[in-house]
Structure formats: C-alpha cells, structure tokens
C-alpha cells in the first residue's frame, strides 16, 4: 500500500457537498499550538452507516465535537445537507437534524424516560408561555402528540414499559437505549453514536449491530459511530475512516481497512494485543 492515503468520497464524481448528507471539508483543529485534527475530510452519504476509528488520542472525539458544534474548526468547513453550518450553535444543529448520544451516558437523571425524550422535541414544539399557562387547545394537542411520539420511540428502542420511571433508576442497558430514543426524537438526518457498545457484553453488541440497521432503515437516517470494539466496527460499518494522531490515514470499506498496512501498524496491531489482554 502507498503511504499517502487516497481520499475517496464515494460521490461518483459528483460535488461531494451536494451528494452527502454531511460533508466535512479539510477540517483542521488546533488548540493553541497543538494540532488535534489535521486537514481531515470526511463524508457521510445519505442512509449510510459509517465509522470513525483510531487509537486513543487520534482526534476522534475532537472531530466529533466539531461536527456537533461544540468547537469551531480552525480551518475547513462542515456542510450539512449542502449548507455550511460552521458557527451554527449546537442546539441549532440538533434542530437541523444532527443528533448524538454520549460516551458516558448523559441523561436528565431526575426526569422520567418519557420526559427525557420529550426534551429533545423542544425544537419541534411551538407552545409559548401563554399557551402553556392557559393550556390552550393547540398546546394540549401538541403535548398529547409529543407524548404519543415519545412512547412510540421508547417502544421502538425496546423500553416501552419504563416511560414513567426516572432515568437514573434505569439499568445501564436501558439508559443507553433511552439515549438513542432521545436522540431520535430530534428526527435526525444523522445519528452520531459515541462508543455505543461501551459496557455491553458480546451478545448485546451483536444485537446492537442489527439495531443500528433497523434504526437506519425505519428512521431513514445515516449513522456515524465512534467505536473501539473492532468486531462491532467491522460488522456494522459500510465505510470506515481511520484517524491516527490527528491525520486521516485510511478511508474505505471494512475489507479495505482490514487489509490496509498503515492501519494495521497504527491501530489494529495495538488493538489486537489489547484485545488479547482483555480476553485473558
């Protein structure tokens, strides 16, 4: 394999901005003199499942945070559905259809499962202070519909029975599911999953792969994963992007990545030993 990776945006020669749901164009992020992400381009095609992988400190999370709007890139532009979203605040991006889950679950612990999901509908609901206080017919209908949708979503992720339970009382697995339900309430175009299988056992991880495809197909969206578990990555991803120390070192199908010498050196080799250790 050659040393320099060839960027392929599987856009079939089209303009990558128009062809992709999300297109990050030559992103560089520097914190002071430290370059966390260096000139990385990245694309998510409509209805695809893609992954971002790399060893610790590769810049995955930083890159993820640029996509969701927590940081602005030092250089480069992020396009969502063809429009430049640089400088757009996180809550606006969420409303535009970019939903995420968190590596360390961040639910609203003292709110019920149903309320957690309904919070994410904030940008779709319209009721104002007056409508809420007077409980005008429009507000009541809206609330009823929102509650129904919330229950459907909880049902969809498989925790239909716990809607009235405080989020903090749910089991770890149910909390992860609730996070996905909450993200789906934004009616996203892209679902960003940050290490979704962390803490899952192999059976749960296997079901998770099916779950990702069910979400993709039924909710009509693209999925981006950051993940450490290589077995999950290889099963779930249609395309994989590999970062190492802030640089993009490979992009392609799971088979491409598996056979990429640079990736093996930078990542898989290390992970292989780590996996070996864990199995012991």
């Amino acid at each position: 394999m050659t040393a320099a990776p060839v960027l392929q945006h599987h856009s079939g020669g089209q303009d990558p901005v128009a062809a992709n749901t999300l297109y990050a164009d030559r992103i560089t992020i520097a914190f002071g003199g430290l370059i966390a992400v260096n000139d990385v381009s990245f694309s998510i095609a409509p209805k695809s499942v893609v992954s971002l992988i790399g060893p610790n400190g590769a810049g995955k999370t930083t890159f993820f945070n640029v996509l969701t709007g927590l940081y602005d890139p030092t250089e480069g532009t992020v396009f969502l559905d063809g429009s430049d979203i640089n400088g757009v605040k996180p809550h606006k991006r969420a409303a535009l259809g970019m939903a995420r889950t968190f590596q360390n679950i961040r639910l609203f612990n003292l709110m019920t499962a149903e309320e957690n999901v309904m919070v994410a509908m904030h940008s779709h609901l319209k009721a104002g202070i007056l409508g809420t206080v007077l409980r005008l017919p429009g507000q009541r209908r809206e609330e009823r519909e929102a509650r129904d949708t919330a229950r459907e979503l909880l049902e969809f992720v498989g925790i239909g029975k716990v809607e009235g339970e405080l989020a903090r009382n749910l089991s770890y697995g149910d909390q992860r599911r609730l996070e996905v339900a909450r993200a789906l309430a934004l009616r996203p175009k892209i679902l960003l999953l940050d290490e979704p299988t962390a803490g899952m056992n192999p059976q749960e991880s296997a079901t998770f792969v099916e779950f990702v495809y069910r979400v993709r197909d039924e909710k009509d969206l693209s999925v981006l994963l950051i993940e450490h578990d290589m077995s999950v990555i290889m099963k779930v991803s249609e395309r994989i992007t590999v970062l190492d120390r802030g640089n993009l070192i490979a992009e392609g199908t799971p088979d491409d990545i598996r056979n990429n010498q640079q990736v093996i050196e930078a990542y898989l080799g290390k992970t292989g030993t780590r996996e070996g250790k864990r199995k012991k």
């Binding site: 309904m118 919070v119 609901l125």
Partner: protein, 438 residues
Amino acid sequence: MSIMPSRRSNGLAHFRWPAGYVVVIVFLFLLYQEILPLFNTSVSGSVTSWLPVATVNQCLMWAIMALGLNVVVGYAGLLDLGYVAFWALGGYTAGWLMAAPFNWTWNVHILTSIPSSTAGTHINFWFVIIIAGVLCAILGLLIGAPTLRPRGDYLALVTLGFGEVITQFFRNSNDIGGLNVAGGDGGISVIDPIGTGPFAYAGVPKGLTNNTTDNIYKILVLGLLVGICIFISLRIREGRLGRAWLAIREDELAASMMGVPLVRAKLSAYAVGAFFGGIGGVANASGVTGAVSPSGFDFGKSVLVLLMVVLGGMGNVWGVTIGAFLLAWLNGTGLQQIGVQLDSWFGTNLHETLPRYNFVILGVLLVMMMLFRREGLIPEKRTKALMSTPNRTEMEAIGADIAEAGMETEVFEHSSPESDAAIAATAADVTPLINKES
C-alpha cells in the same frame, strides 16, 4: 397523562389544589373578619399577637417572591443572588403610578377610588400589577441577555452585583441628570393602598374599603395574587418550557445537544421570575409598606427569599410557599413573639434581642436544614430521589470498579458470594456521600 411517577401530585395540580387553596385563604379572611370578634379579648388577642393580620399579608407577599425565585433557582437551576432588584423595580413602578411623588401636580386617574381632586398619578392596582410585571420581565431580559452566559458561580456573582446596582441607582435617583426620578434616599410615599383600588371596582360596597379593617381584605387580594403565581408555576413546569428548564438544571450540555436553546430558555426562566418579582414589588409597596425607599431593598432581602426557596424545597411550589410563610412569619412576628413568651416564662428580656439576631437565627436554621433535611421541608419528588437513594448506574459502576480492582490485584481471585455482598454494601454506603458532595 401523568408526567411524574406520582399520580397524586398530578391530580392535586390539576383539580384539587385550587379548591383547597381557596378554602385556606377564605378561612384566614373569615378568621379575622368574623370569627375572632366573637371570642373574648384574651383569645383573639393571643391569636392576633402571634399572627397579626399585617403579618399574614407580609407572608402572602413573600410567597409571591419565593415562587418567582423558585422558577429561576428551583426550576432552571440558576443561582440568582440579586432577586431583590425586581422587587425594587416593582415597588418603584407602584411609586410612579400610584402616588403623588415629589411635587408632581398633574392628576392622572385611571379606575381608582382615590378622590379625583388628589394630585399625582393614580392607576388601578391591577393595571399596575401587570405593568410592573411586564416591566420587570423586560428588565430581566435586558439584564439576563449578557449575564446568563456565565455558568454557576459566575452567574451568582453577576446577579449579586446587579442587585446592588439597582439599589444604588434608586439611592441616587433624586438627581439623574438634574431630574428627580425616584426620590433618592427618601424614596416615594404615600403609595395608594390596595383596598381602595380594586374593591371599589369589583362591586364591594364602599363601606368595606378604606377603613381600619382594610388589612383583612388585603388577605383576599394578596391571596388571589399568590394563587395566580402558584397556578402559573404549576402549569409552566409541565409544558415544553418547564421540561427545558429541568433539562438545563440536570445537564446543560446534553440539553443543548438535544436542541434546547440554552440562552433563550434561561432568559425565559429569568423573565418569568422577574415578572413574579415585579408583582411582589407592587404587592409590597401598595399592600404592605405603603412606601418605597432604597434602604428596604438590601442584599439581605435577596438572601431571605433564597432561604425561603431552599428551606421550603427547591422546585416544589408548595414547599416554597410554606417556606415563605414560615420565614416571613419568623422575621415579621415570630421571633419577637417567641421572645415575649420566653420573657414571661423565664423573666428574661429577649423580645427585643431575638428579632435583632434574626439573620443569625435564620442562618443556624439553614445550617440545621442542610445537615438534617437538605431537600427542604416539602421536597420536590425528583430532588428527594436524588438525596435519598444512590444513582443506580453509579452504584453499579462503583461495584464494578471495586470488583475490577480486586481482579487486577488478584487478591479477590477466589471471591465468595459473601465478599461480593460486602463489596456491594460498600458501594451502597459510599454512593450517598458522593452524591452529597457533587
């Protein structure tokens, strides 16, 4: 339809509470108006010395304030140490619109029962309530827009400064560019009393207004205002905005990632709180003191309202209302009356000293609360859960950590069910401590 796990509080919120509340207020009114005069002076005297009508009115007024601050602190989790500012602005709005300040000579009368020959501006109490509320909400938005960006401690400092600035503004208000805006140190007096305004236009016979029992009728007016504030508080908590506030209180970052516009949502909490504060200010100036001056709007008042919220149970409307009653009573009559009682039992001379040490006593009370009942007198269900039971995943995580550490050091390699149980017990013991510290 239940949002909260408990159906009881929900039912209360929807149907039962207004009836119960009306009964309480009407009972208080009848107690002073009809029942007490029937008893001999020793009975009615001890009731009125322990709970004078004026103190009931003060309690109701403070309840409005506490409910307002509860929206900001209890619902949205924004620590506001300058809430007195809105109280002051509300009071001065009453001063401007319901009095003849300085040497104003014009006569503006809108639906008041003040004789039309009286100079000054005299606008109906209910109009002034709305005007002051809206004015304070606007001020809240103006102040909040730049100050609500900082988080936590910084916000508390900024609001603290804001509270002081407003008071100083009114202190120097007798010469703003040569214009006497609000009377400086002396403030504005006399402000039209409530009783004369609304009753004359609500069909109550003139004979009942403007007399010595005026204070008793104020129970109804202030009671109505408190009722409205409770109603708004309960309704708003269950809607889209209330959810956004709770979410911000729980996890700001996650809330913004779920499409909640942080600054806007915080601003709306601040504005609603300020609206209540303005109402409280008018109720105070017109219904309780009859005058406004800068010395009444000190930092201590901000702290007092905050104490009411914390003591009563942050986020719980009923807890906060009761907290307000308790502290306003202690501050107004209770301490002195306890002193009088102690004097008569032990021959001491406490009835003068106790009220002077009010903040020491309230401070001790707060410390006791923090030690023994952190969640407040009537805690919000959610807070109670937080304080009393450990977070499930946290507990499991600690259990897992301990177990993992054990495996790595291979000390517990041959772990028995007993030692596992011991580990779980340790986790359960440790977790509440962690919760308290965070």
